[in-house]
Symmetry: C2
Subunit: 136 residues, 2 copies
């Protein structure tokens, strides 16, 4: 699906900045931080606009956040079937200590864990740190 249709699908106004950010995600394939995106926009849009765009996309379920072991917040495109409110992004994320790139391991599902009595589970996030395929 192209960027314009994706925006319409989620009932969002089609604007330059939203298209740019979507294109950047589509081209990169991986997970990006706010500053990654800002860098690739080369000053085309304001920092604030990027923040708001990411927020909007996350609210709509177009992108999802990835927790990292350090400080940064990363975002990645949801799979097509993420639609309908709740995400299907329960795959493992991988952070390479060599190239510092975070990858979505789409084929590695997050295993279920048995919680102590009384805990109710909604969501699980899992981040593996190590050396990725390309840096090996």
């Amino acid at each position: 699906m192209n960027a314009q249709d994706l925006l319409k699908k989620y009932q969002l106004s089609v604007t330059d900045s939203r298209l740019s950010v979507l294109h950047i995600f589509m081209q990169s394939g991986g997970a990006l931080s706010h500053s990654d995106i800002e860098g690739r926009l080369k000053g085309l849009h304001d920092r604030v606009t990027v923040y708001r765009t990411l927020q909007t996309f996350a609210d709509k379920g177009i992108i999802h956040q990835i927790p990292t072991t350090d400080n940064a917040v990363l975002y990645a495109l949801c799979k097509e079937d993420c639609a309908g409110g709740h995400h299907h992004d329960n795959h493992v994320h991988f952070l390479c200590t060599e190239c510092e790139i975070t990858t979505c391991l789409d084929d590695v599902m997050v295993p279920t864990v048995k919680l102590p009595r009384g805990f109710r589970q909604n969501d699980v996030k899992m981040v593996v740190t190590g050396v990725c395929k390309l840096c090996k």
Copy 2:
């Protein structure tokens, strides 16, 4: 073990700020962010000192970081057997959406996952979101 002995065990100077921060961790029981700690210190010590204290404790293995799905970095006391350089904090962390408190589920180990060919794993973090025992 009391705070003072703990500091000596790790060959750290015993200072007011370190004792205060340790006490805060011991009383809270749960995971705390930098600003949690700063808040409870009520201006007793400088922001910078808190940063440095947390850094020192993390380096020595007295506390460990917990990745969260949002922005914040949380810290929690390591178990006694964390000593000797490498941590035994490979347990699951639980974030309650009601009380917003992060707990270490010490008895729930992070399951191992099989990574795609070529990926080498060093470390795994797992955060479960849901409703905790007390908020149920």
